[in-house]
Amino acid sequence: MPRKHLLGIADLSPFEISMILDLAESTKSISERTIKKVPTLRGRTILNLFFEPSTRTRLSFEIAQKRLSADTVNFSVSGSSVSKGETLVDTAKNLAAMRPSVIVIRHGVAGYPHRLAKLMDASVINAGDGFHEHPTQALLDLMTIRERKGQVEGLKVAIIGDIARSRVAGSNILCLSKMGAEVTVMAPRSMLPYHIKKTGVNVAANLKDAITNKDVVMALRIQRERDSVSRFPSLREYNRYYGLKMEHMQYLKDDCIIMHPGPINRGVEIDPEVADGPLSVILEQVSNGVAVRMAVLLLLLGGRNIYEVSD
């Protein structure tokens, strides 16, 4: 793959997306062995820069890197206190001077990884930027759907939650649409961008309509930490009108799968009985996260011979 960075699903062709997923099937097998390590990225330095809190994504990237034998360095800081006084350009120059092979970055402002990438020799992987994109999340979601459903084209997928500010929704809408799925979104009007229909998705009027006859139902995390101005009255009321609950199971297809990017707010966007129920694939998503991130790292770092991973 000639691509140097993974900044967003927006840049990827369906072919590239399929290629990542195909490779992820191989990398997944590494995690299923007793010795979960291959030497492919030995001697490569990878920086994980997290300017926003993250547990799962950061761990997932780090595990993926370690299983490929890369040297990983983590830097986490919440808020922008560290970036104060240093411009984005200076940050980029300093990082570049340390000669990493890859920089994995999460930042609270959309476009930060894109601008960083322009100033870097290293490959940049966007691990979430503002309300914009979170490409590896969409890829791992797609991998989970493909594993369960065999194919993605023609599937009906519902995404429920803060569509306006969710980068998971941003990347998933792009990714699923590119792969031929039909996406329906549902959110309180106060969390739905006015121009969402231009992305080609359907907008459902209520939760029941959104989930009826769908192959996949994805609930998004309500970002409690993210808003000062209230977009809905309370978490209780959110759960009442927009939370996935047992009473909704009757509208779902028997083979519907329920997804969530995590971490779950139990009893807010999804009830415990649903999250832990037979339709839930939430933990498979987490496993696939490692596989997809391994695949992305391999492809960005020149690919070499991808069969090396199965040695």
Binding site: T87, G111, Y112, R115, G130, R167, K198
Partner: protein, 449 residues
């Protein structure tokens, strides 16, 4: 000292002149404008591409050859930020004045959001003193509406007016308190100065950084709804009606705003309005096309093509009285932050005329005479300046334009300290080639004399 501008197409909307002729300037004032040649013997002959610029200052008699050029009253920019006092690293009164003179402007109205804000007689006098020392062009300071631009209590409006401000505004922020705005209109009218409204409801813009639309959704940046502007414009128009005091609306950027102003004018409300070159030519797509480049971050934000079209309609039908640059230089360091952290603002002076001549006169078919009106008579009347014409005996300010000159915008060569220009690298047709202020040639071919 005598100066003759020879053989140019003279266009002055205020004086209803549009013919090829000569202008005689003597001792800094307009002496004669004539379709017949005005002779000046033993004069130094200058013009674009003719060199000799070093001798101009010493010469007692100068003839400027304006054949093939357009000669207009000195252009007026009623919305510039010169950052001094307080942020001399971003711009100074001197670099700002040079940027203005280099780009064809002979008069500017400076915004008061300096550090400290211009909310006192002392700061006003300081600005005027600096401007007089430098002397390139006319600088008209504006003062704040409220002390420290806090929106809470009226600043020393009377004393500032006496010291020389021409208008009051809290530009950079709107005045959220309606009663304060009402009292500002009432009180300022006793002193004969204008109120300029930065129309923004902060509770609606709510931390946004770009226009709310499909592009903001695509890019994942916090959005500013256009209503943050239009609801405040409606309030201020309504207050102008209540108080019967004129109001000037700064940097109009949306269709809805334009329509509100058009309707108010039809009703006879004393409202005037300006639009900025970037709002007349760029859309929110620029943020995506330039890949989050912070030189596209400006307040009000770049809007949609429909808004651009509405603003141009406003230019054509007189709803928009003036084009003003909202020249807002920032240091490269400040602009090299992420898109949320970086300050709002576009450095506007040195790209203004090429952008307007090429995109408005060239592409959008705005007649050149009308464009000149928007830079002369329009802004002068909006702020109440006795400027923008060629009246005999008046201080002679002229802007001479070559409508066919091809230029490429290069921000690294600006006289301004600001480099935050989204037009950087654009190749355009039409540029100012000479600036005359106080009856003296201050710029030829983009270089300050």
């Amino acid at each position: 000292m005598k100066l003759v501008i020879r053989g140019g197409r003279i266009i002055s909307p205020r004086d209803k002149i549009d013919y090829i002729g000569d202008i005689l300037i003597e001792d800094g004032v307009f002496k004669r404008i004539s379709q017949k040649p005005i002779e000046l013997s033993d004069a130094l002959e200058v013009g674009p591409g003719k060199g000799q610029t070093k001798s101009i200052k010493k010469a007692d008699k100068v003839v400027f050859d304006a054949t093939g050029l357009v000669v207009a009253p000195g252009f007026i920019d009623i919305h510039v930020h010169f950052r001094e006092p307080g942020r001399e690293d971003a711009e100074t009164i001197e670099t700002g004045m040079k940027a203005a003179a280099a780009s064809g402007f002979t008069s500017v109205v400076t915004m008061p959001n300096t550090t400290p804000a211009n909310d006192t007689e002392a700061t006003t006098l300081f600005i005027l003193q600096r401007a007089t020392q430098i002397g390139l062009i006319n600088v008209y300071p504006s003062g704040t509406i409220t002390t420290g631009r806090s929106g809470k209590e009226l600043a020393a409006i009377g004393e500032m007016a006496e010291a020389g401000i021409v208008a009051i505004t809290d530009d950079g922020d709107g005045v959220m308190n309606g009663t304060i705005m009402r009292r500002a209109l009432e009180y300022s009218s006793d002193f004969g100065i204008r109120v300029i409204s930065h129309s923004e409801d902060k509770t609606l813009s709510a931390g946004g950084v770009m226009h709310e639309g499909f592009v903001s959704t695509k890019l994942g940046l916090p959005p500013i709804p256009p209503q943050a502007e239009s609801v405040m414009i409606y309030r201020d128009i309504s207050l102008s009606k209540l108080t019967d005091v004129p109001i000037h609306i700064a940097h109009v950027s949306t269709r809805e705003s334009t329509e509100l102003i058009r309707r108010a004018k039809r009703e006879g409300i004393k409202v005037t309005a300006e639009a900025a070159p970037h709002h007349l030519t760029l859309t929110d797509e620029a943020v995506a096309e330039m890949d989050y480049d912070t030189s596209t971050k400006v307040n009000p934000p770049l809007r949609t093509q429909d808004d651009v079209d509405a603003l141009i309609e406003g230019i054509l039908d007189g709803t928009i009285d003036a084009i003003a640059t909202d020249h807002a230089p920032h240091t490269t360091t400040d602009k090299e932050q992420d898109y949320v952290e970086a300050p709002f603002g576009i450095v506007g002076l040195e790209s203004a005329l090429p952008v307007c001549l090429d995109r408005l006169c060239g592409k959008a078919k705005v007649p050149l005479e009308l464009l000149i009106e928007k830079f002369t008579l329009g802004p002068a009347d909006a702020i109440g300046l006795k400027k923008g014409g060629m009246e005999k005996g008046a201080a002679a300010d002229l802007t001479i334009i070559d409508p066919n000159k091809k230029v490429t915008i290069d921000a690294s060569t600006f006289y301004s300290k600001g480099r935050n220009c989204p037009f950087n690298g654009w190749s355009l047709t039409g540029a100012p080639v000479c600036t005359v202020a106080f009856g003296q040639i201050k710029m030829i071919d983009g270089r300050i004399i």
